[in-house]
């Protein structure tokens, strides 16, 4: 191996009780695509923040081309030639591409435009410098982010879960870009938990688990099972079995649902139609930003339709478009939103008080006063039955990890004994153990006859648990596809709006 571009020696970082990174050693070679592999919460993001100067390590040292490296800020990292593309983009939607780039890169506009075009042709990153960012697709926005990093001629580019926002077809194009960058002399740190991707493109992989390095491997020499075992210490969990069953009554029906949000950057929904019966799981695939947020608020009742359009949303056979969330819950509806803190749970409140949020009709309020004993008892039961790892019912919601808080919210909603259960992005930012537990619970509920709707970006997840899948793209919902007869590429075609052709 050539002299490393970047070396980490014994890097540790802790946040209070949490040891995010412990004695991490990594060598990144020049001209290498190096994967950092680990499940959610393994410490990948912390490590990248240390390398990019967002945080400083508590101990250990970093060497950059053999010289000790101390970074006070991301600006210092950029000056050394380290660039980073975040999972959530930091572009101003109302500005054009060139305006966004000019905000961070000095130079004449004309020269910058020429450079953008040059980088575009060299690395397959074509984008119109004068286009407004809000007009661009997610893939194009990612290209803008990458171009912005490349403008400063980095030697190391960090990409945080870059494929999680892309439809399958765009992933190939991104990989082509990364290979060209590598051949052009740039090393890439590629963060991911998707094993097949890493095997396809990376030449080195460092595996993190619970903040520690558990292995350095050449991913091309190992199969996905090996990598998974290194990542989570056991085999990838099997998808839970679905018992064949005849779907029952219709529990949720959207009929020509059309909605234009007040927010100019929201996504209008056009003529959305779906039917969900008892005892089946319907998945809504697609990249968020294609109307997912609007659809979930329309189904939950957080957005109400005008009275004359109430028939567009039907639950348990009743028109409910004009009803609020509490009234829909009374009909037997339960909902897990995609944002956990601040929506599904209140940050500064204990879990017991968070139980009240939706479970208050279950005897947790007496004569207008909070029945704290009952609320605590309810919460204890939720914690025990749903394996929520926490100090107890008095723990603050914000003190729980993403996965544990999600288990709490899912548990609380399941305890409402819904007939219709709706989950948006149920395993976003949730570790594999918790995600598997949630999926198994959903399938068990389905087998008991509950109607379940899942909105998710994770196509694999939908294929694991859903009976049928529909794709939401640009505010339009595709026809229903039987999971058994559908391939991921078919979903991908709908995601980019190409329809069922071919």
């Amino acid at each position: 191996m050539a002299a490393p571009l970047l070396s980490l020696r014994g890097i540790s970082k802790r946040y209070g009780e949490v040891r995010a990174n412990q004695a991490v050693d990594i060598d990144v070679a020049p001209r290498s695509i190096h994967a950092i592999l680990g499940e959610n919460g393994a410490g990948k993001s912390t490590l990248m923040k240390l390398i990019y100067g967002v945080e400083t390590p508590d101990s250990g040292e970093m060497l950059w081309q053999g010289v000790p490296l101390k970074l006070a800020s991301p600006a210092a990292a950029r000056r050394r030639g380290i660039g980073m593309v975040f999972q959530h983009f930091s572009l101003f939607e109302t500005l054009t591409v060139i305006e966004n780039i000019r905000l961070v890169v000095p130079g004449q506009t004309r020269a910058l435009i020429a450079r953008i075009r040059e980088l575009g042709t060299e690395f397959g990153l074509e984008v119109d410098p004068h286009a407004h960012v809000h007009e661009l697709s997610v893939g194009e926005r990612q290209r803008v982010e990458i171009i912005r990093c490349l403008m400063t001629d980095p030697k190391l580019l960090i990409l945080d879960e870059p494929t999680s926002v892309l439809p399958p077809q765009s992933v190939d194009k991104l990989f082509d870009t990364l290979l060209r960058l590598r051949d052009g002399g740039v090393s890439v740190l590629f963060i991911s938990h998707k094993l097949e991707e890493i095997r396809a493109i990376c030449d080195r992989a460092t595996i993190l688990s619970a903040g520690k390095v558990t292995g350095h491997v050449d991913p091309r020499e190992h199969d996905a099972h090996d990598l998974a075992r290194m990542m989570i210490g056991r085999d990838m969990p099997e998808p839970p079995p679905r018992t064949p069953s005849e779907p029952g009554e219709t529990m949720l029906e959207l009929i020509g649902l059309t909605y234009t949000p007040d927010d100019p950057f929201g996504m209008p929904l056009k003529d959305v139609a779906l039917t969900l019966r008892a005892g089946e799981i319907l998945g809504i695939a697609g990249i968020s930003g294609n109307g997912q947020a609007e659809l979930s608020e329309l189904i939950s009742g957080e957005i109400r339709l005008p009275f004359e359009n109430r028939e567009q949303v039907q639950m348990m056979g009743e028109p409910v478009g004009h009803l609020g969330p509490a009234e829909r819950r009374q009909l037997g509806f339960a909902f897990v939103p995609e944002d956990r803190l601040g929506r599904g749970a209140v940050q500064g409140m204990s879990l017991a008080r968070n139980s009240l949020l939706t479970a208050h009709p279950l005897g947790l309020v007496r004569h207008g006063l909070i029945a704290m004993a009952q609320a605590t008892e309810f919460t204890r039961r939720c914690i025990a039955d749903h394996d929520v790892r926490t100090s107890g019912a008095e723990a603050e919601a914000s003190g729980l990890s993403g996965g544990n808080l999600q288990k709490f919210i899912v548990g609380r909603e399941m305890m409402l004994a819904p007939k219709l259960f709706f989950l948006a992005q149920p395993t976003w930012g949730v570790d594999i153990g918790a995600a598997t537990a949630i999926r198994q619970k959903l399938v068990a509920l389905r087998n008991e006859g509950v109607a379940i709707l899942v909105i998710s970006e994770e196509i694999d997840e939908l294929f694991d648990i859903c009976d049928r899948i529909q794709v939401l793209s640009q505010g339009r919902l595709s026809p229903s596809l039987e999971t058994r007869e559908t391939r991921p590429e078919d979903i991908g075609r709908y995601m980019i709006g190409a329809g069922a052709a071919a």
Binding site: R79, A326, R343, G344, M349, L357, T358, V365, I370
Partner: protein, 364 residues
């Protein structure tokens, strides 16, 4: 490398410090006292005399202390009402106007029926005042819910309107015909006055009423489900939307409660120490109560203490005005610096200072 990192920076704590939450108002009080004493020194006053008149006298002289208790009543009432709204992040800044309208509603009875007698009069006046304050605050709630008009601006500007309504009544229809043309109403009859409870002082029954309402506020905010809904709306509006707690209802409730309490305080003031409707019925209680509410940590029990402190500042300021020759603005300056000091101190409940570690100079 930039040389900017010589100052400590604020870093968010993992959890708010409970210890500092209690300590912050006390620290703010000490800091504000020291700053103001220094100011008096610069102004050429004798700080010791000021200190004695302003800080000690209200608590060691019985007559002064009874006046402190008298002022505690309205501050406590208004601040308890405001705090409920502030917890729900509904910022009613117009308690002053609601206080004035409350005083006007209460005065209508003795002004229109000066000969009426009976012990029903003063309770009716208090109730009328509370309803008047709530109605006035309801205007703000209506526009906020209907048009999303900012409640801070609407309630604040309605206070200016309330002052003009008061002026109109006192210069016109409600002016005492035998009052030598002074802008004030008739003196109220005996039964229109809230009964005194401590002989030899002006302390009246509105103080125990305020204390009882403070306890009611405690139950409402800490134990009731409606209070919980308001708190969720303040802490996480999207969680309130998710749960299906109505935002409009929270706004109405917050403002009506705040207006009710402020109106009650205004009624108790004209039916108490003042005894008639006049222009100077409020000495900024509606604004001072905002400080009281925050100084008490928006907690019903904390506010009981902070209202006593604020009342003492009023009385101490009056004392110092007379015995230490302090200008009349001194009380306002003290109030303002107290709020500023508190806002700075309370920052450290959620944040701590991080001092930069000496960096080994890496070549840039």
């Amino acid at each position: 490398m930039s040389a900017a990192r010589i100052w400590p920076t604020l870093v968010r704590r993992e959890r708010p410090s409970l210890y500092l939450k209690v300590l912050a108002p006390l620290l703010a009080l000490v800091a504000a006292t020291l700053i103001n004493l220094l100011l008096y020194l610069v102004m050429g006053k004798d700080p010791l005399a000021v200190f004695h008149a302003m800080i000690l006298e209200p608590f060691i002289s019985f007559s002064s202390f009874s006046e402190v208790l008298l002022k505690t009543g309205p501050l406590l009432l208004i601040a308890e009402g405001l705090a409920i709204g502030y917890r729900a992040k509904v910022f009613n800044i117009g308690a002053e106007g609601q206080f004035i309208i409350g005083a006007i509603f209460a005065s209508a009875l003795p002004v229109w029926y000066p000969m009426a007698t009976g012990q029903w009069i003063w309770p009716t006046m208090l109730l009328a005042g509370a309803v008047g304050g709530a109605l006035w605050a309801g205007i703000t709630a209506f526009w906020r819910v209907r048009l999303r008009a900012n409640e801070i601006l609407v309630s604040l500007m309605l206070s200016l309107v309330a002052v003009q309504v008061l002026n109109y009544l006192l210069l016109g229809p409600w002016k005492d015909p035998n009052g030598f043309n002074f802008p004030q109403s008739v003196m109220f009859q005996y039964d229109a006055m809230v009964p005194l409870i401590i002989p030899g002082t002006r302390v009246n029954a509105s103080l125990p009423i305020a204390l009882a309402l403070a306890l009611a506020a405690y139950v409402f905010m800490q134990k009731s489900f409606i209070g919980y809904k308001l708190e969720v709306g303040g802490l996480a509006p999207r969680a309130a939307g998710y749960a299906g707690f109505s935002e409009g209802r929270a706004i109405w409730l917050s403002l009506l409660i705040g207006g009710f309490a402020a109106g009650l305080a205004g009624a108790a003031e004209v039916a108490g120490p003042i005894g008639q409707l006049q222009r100077s019925i409020s000495t900024g209680y509606g604004y001072a109560a905002i400080i009281v509410a925050y100084l008490g940590g928006l907690h019903p029990i904390g506010i009981i203490f902070s209202s006593v402190v604020m009342a003492a500042i009023y009385i101490g300021g009056d004392n110092a005005l007379v015995s230490a020759d302090l200008p009349i603005a001194a009380v306002r300056v003290f109030q303002g610096s107290l709020l500023l000091a508190y806002l700075m101190a309370v920052t450290f409940v959620r944040y701590r200072l991080a001092f930069p570690r000496p960096m080994s100079g890496a070549p840039a």
